[in-house]
């Protein structure tokens, strides 16, 4: 599969604030299926916040407030993710997220990757084993860790830890993957591997990535959005200088 015209995420009239400080101000955006969309802009302009609006992770932050609507096409149907009937755990399995700093849980490599399956109530060991292996292979990590699956995941290198976190998000077969500056804490070689990995995931997922590194954005992204003053001020390469939809 390649980029299609199908809209995966449709966000309208997004307003967001932490306490008194307003972060997003009437933001509109459409993100297409099987594309890599990069969100760029200066620090503290709400790039990471925008990602957490797509999996409702912001709701765990005290003092945060949001208005607007986000629809995501999941399992072939359009879902209003802020509708009361939308199950949070299900949403977050379908819309995976990887953070800036690798955050393996203090447990073995295997248990880390199996964790989301366990949370989903899957207990069939053979099925878990297969899914863990597939996810680690997808994340280009299997060959490096297949003989040490029971080791503490925190003993892996930074780059390996980040690939582990990506594998952990992939194990429940998400349709959307949100990456919050996934390479900012890594060296050049590790960054290159992760970039290749992200490109390879485009076939199975729709990817939204926050990045500070413009060279990286140009290497990876199909489209990039610049955030400023709580809105999208630039949208390359299609509609330049849009204010809002």
């Amino acid at each position: 599969m390649t980029a299609t015209n199908e809209i995966k995420i449709r966000a309208r009239r997004l307003f967001f604030a932490y306490g008194e400080s307003r972060v997003l101000n009437d933001l509109h955006v459409d993100i297409h299926s099987h594309t890599i969309t990069a969100v760029v802009g200066a620090s503290g302009k709400g790039k990471s916040t925008l990602l957490t609006l797509f999996n409702r992770l912001w709701e765990d932050i005290p003092d945060a407030r949001m208005q607007g609507s986000v629809h995501i096409r999941l399992e072939g149907t359009d879902r209003d993710i802020y509708h009361p009937s939308c199950s949070l755990p299900d949403l977050r399995r379908k819309v995976g997220m990887v953070f800036q700093t690798p955050n393996p849980l203090p447990m073995s490599i295997y248990k880390n990757v199996a964790f989301p399956l366990k949370m989903a109530g899957i207990s069939n060991k053979a099925r878990i084993g297969d899914a863990v292996e597939t996810a680690l292979k997808q994340a280009f990590l299997w060959d490096e860790v297949k003989d040490r699956l029971r080791e503490d995941a925190r003993r892996l290198s930074g780059g390996q830890q980040q690939r582990l976190c990506i594998a952990r998000a992939l194990v429940v077969e998400p349709e959307v993957l949100l990456l919050d500056e996934p390479t900012s804490s890594l060296d050049a070689t590790a960054t290159e591997t992760i970039e290749k990995l992200i490109l390879s995931l485009k076939e199975t997922c729709t990817i939204v990535v926050v990045s500070h590194d413009m060279a990286q954005v140009e290497r990876m992204a199909d489209r990039w959005l610049e955030l400023s003053e709580g809105r999208i001020v630039n949208d390359w390469p299609d509609n330049q200088w849009i204010d809002s939809v």
Binding site: N55, L88, R93, M97, F99, M107, P116, K118
Partner: protein
């Protein structure tokens, strides 16, 4: 120059304080050991009763501290056993579920509870026993169960506060990890937050064990007796090491009896050390099981 001088002064002060503290503990232990080590023998525990008969509860021990040791172990086990589930659950509620106002009000009450002198908790337990005796069953008198309940109340605030603060101090990225992977709130608490807070919670439990093992004021009013033997049930009187040490040092008849008091103090320390070690062992096994368990 002034700043450097200040730095050195603070460092010296810190060193000195640490040294004084360590030296005090060492002196205390040394004093107890030199005084009491001579009395450590089966006779200290069992008097003139045959040890095997005493251990199998065939004959009551009158002259030894065996019943007091068993009493203390039972008391600590019961009190901590009752307080831990309630304390941890309340700590979780405070850290993860309580609204800010509720949290402030409850927090104030827990702090007041932590500041109540133990003799008052003892009086409360005593009054409760009298009340129950009059209104429910004539069989209820000050006893092991009442003592354990009172002690549980005494240590609850430590358990609640340590659990709460450890959970609240977990960094945000740790809190976000599991929800981002589709874990529900309860799953996040049980699979990630609690295992990561284990050492904080365990230090609260250790503090509680120490408090229950040493407390004399509460148990004096709620059921400890000088010679009760091994308690037959939760509703019987019992003996306890701190109370034994207290009575011996207050009214010893001869030097040998006083020495037995020192012996009992060493045994009390050893009982505490044993319980701490057991707690640490359980913590270790639990952490292994929760975090690194089989594939």
């Amino acid at each position: 120059m002034k700043a450097r001088c200040c730095d050195k002064l603070v460092t010296a002060w810190a060193w000195l304080s640490g040294l004084v503290l360590t030296a005090s503990v060492a002196t205390l232990l040394g004093f107890l050991l030199t005084k009491g080590a001579g009395t450590l023998s089966p006779a200290l525990f069992f008097g003139d009763t045959v040890p095997l008969d005493a251990l199998l509860l065939k004959r009551q021990v009158f002259e030894g501290i065996f019943p007091a040791t068993v009493g203390t172990l039972l008391l600590v086990g019961l009190a901590v056993g009752m307080a831990v589930p309630v304390g941890i659950a309340t700590g979780i509620y405070m850290a993860e579920f309580a609204a800010p106002r509720t949290k402030a009000v409850f927090g104030l009450f827990f702090d007041i509870l932590a500041g109540i002198p133990s003799i008052l908790v003892g009086l409360f337990g005593f009054s409760a026993a009298i009340f129950l005796h009059h209104h429910f069953s004539g069989q209820i008198t000050p006893c092991l169960l009442i003592s354990a309940l009172s002690l549980a109340f005494l240590v609850l605030p430590y358990l609640i506060r340590t659990t709460q603060t450890t959970l609240e101090n977990l960094p945000r990225h740790v809190r976000m990890t599991a929800p981002a992977l589709g874990a529900s709130k309860l799953q996040t608490i049980f699979y990630v937050l609690l295992p990561q807070s284990l050492s904080g919670i365990v230090s609260g439990i250790i503090l509680s064990i120490g408090r229950c093992a040493e407390d004399t004021a509460v148990i004096m009013l709620t059921g400890v007796v000088a010679t009760a033997g091994i308690p037959a049930s939760l509703l019987s009187g019992y003996e306890a090491l701190p109370f034994y040490i207290y009575t011996v040092s207050a009214q010893y008849a001869d030097q040998a009896e006083l020495m037995r008091g020192y012996g009992a103090a060493i045994v009390l320390l050893a009982v505490c050390a044993l319980l701490f070690a057991l707690t640490a062992f359980i913590r270790h096994r639990l952490a292994d099981h929760l975090l690194y368990g089989a594939r």
